[in-house]
Subunit: 264 residues, 2 copies
């Protein structure tokens, strides 16, 4: 780990703490928000809660690992490595659990025939777990060829997920109301926009390519990952909640699952 | 960090612990109180819970940072700095997440046409996030001119928030019952009264102005911020709850959202 200035260390430290607060705050929100949607949308809210709950745990660990990896030097002018390794594997463990849930969440708020929904969800969950698992050997390797090989293998399920979400699912949402369609489109854009960040970071992180290095690279990676995770988990979950609300409004549905007309 | 007497250190220490207890206690209250209000007021209670839950997390961290920043000297007569920096940035991260929620909470208990509510809430959330983000560079700067520049920039969205709350929202509440109107007025006064504390503290904290300094200043700031946060978050949330109850009573509404007359 390179030496960091006090403000560089603090920026990462505070960004990791922000991520903990955002994840745990979102967890409380999604748990409580279940009672604000009708029965058919509750599974999506449950998945949103699990994603941010699991991520909150991992950010707590990453924060602790960051704090243990550095100490203030004796002159109080900079942070130097303690020698204890900073454990970046927490991120991969987190993604292995949360990414399949994120794609399942999106499928859960879409209108799909019951049989088709299970099949699509199954394919996407397997593809997303494969994507993370194939990326990991490349991330921990110091060999450029190995990193590129596993990175390329990991891109195959990544491309497959995009193909399914864009192609098959776009077809199935043709009958939705205008507001629901706009929200679904924005959610898919958010998913692609935030997910696009991870392969870029992966390539930048291959040290032998010499694309970035030193203290700035460490800071940029941690800040970038944290912001991307907040957008891809908390922001994405809020969009899923908004889709559920818009679909309830379009169908005239109340939270207990009855149509609004019937209640009058 | 200046040397503190044992009682000065302990006063801050116990005040930070009081804030943790107040925030986490309020979190439990607002989560449970959701079932005491009708459906339309639950989003406001959810927001109150998130505010105090997130603040509880940050006070937990601030408490830990305070404890790590000082140690008892060998003669056990005073507290001296350990050299580990006291991280005041937790407060800014907290405000960045909670202040937009606080303004949204107030809008959520007011009677506004559905379209207008979203527009006002959006403007206030953006303005309040901007207010916090613009204040931060000034708070961390040691340069008087920089601090005053960012402080002034931060005042623009602050003034805008006051203008919207006082002007537009006062108009929209003209049709409310006497009790509801008094509660809404008191809540706005509490909001302005507590929020007014933060810019005063910001100006006092610019060391080169020489307004306050030394141990007393450190103690006054921490005690002042903690008391202001308890009033602006727990007290304010209780007022929002009282407004929801008064509005339910005025409309003859029960907790399941039906009119009281129909239930008789």
């Amino acid at each position: 780990m390179p030496e960091l200035s006090v403000s560089q260390f603090s920026l990462v430290y505070n960004m990791l703490s922000l991520a903990i607060a955002a994840m745990l705050g979102s967890f409380a929100f999604f748990v409580m928000a279940r009672s604000q949607v009708s029965l058919r949308f509750r599974p999506a809210l449950v998945m949103s809660s699990l994603v941010v709950g699991i991520a909150g745990y991992h950010y707590w660990r990453i924060f602790g690992s960051w704090d243990a990896a550095y100490r203030l030097n004796d002159a109080h002018t900079a942070y130097v490595a303690t020698g204890k390794p900073f454990n970046d594997a927490y991120r991969y463990v987190d993604w292995l659990l949360t990414v399949p849930l994120l794609v399942a969440e999106l499928v859960a708020v879409m209108t799909l025939p019951k049989g088709k929904r299970g099949a699509i969800m199954g394919k996407l969950i397997i593809a997303s777990a494969l994507m993370i698992a194939l990326g990991y050997p490349g991330e921990v390797s110091n060999d450029q060829a190995t990193a590129l090989l596993w990175g390329t293998l990991s891109s195959v399920p990544f491309a497959y997920i995009l193909y399914v979400l864009w192609g098959e699912l776009s077809k199935s949402t043709a009958g939705e109301s205008g507001e629901v369609n706009i929200l679904l489109r924005n959610t898919k854009l958010l998913l692609i926009g935030t997910w696009g960040f991870y392969p870029i970071t992966y390539i930048l992180g291959i040290e032998s390519l010499g694309l970035v290095s030193g203290a700035n690279a460490v800071v940029a990676l941690q800040v970038g990952y944290s912001l991307a995770d907040i957008a891809a988990k908390c922001g994405y979950g809020l969009m899923i909640y908004a889709i559920a609300q818009a679909r309830m409004a379009a169908a005239g549905e109340t939270v207990d699952g009855t149509a609004a007309q019937a209640a009058h």
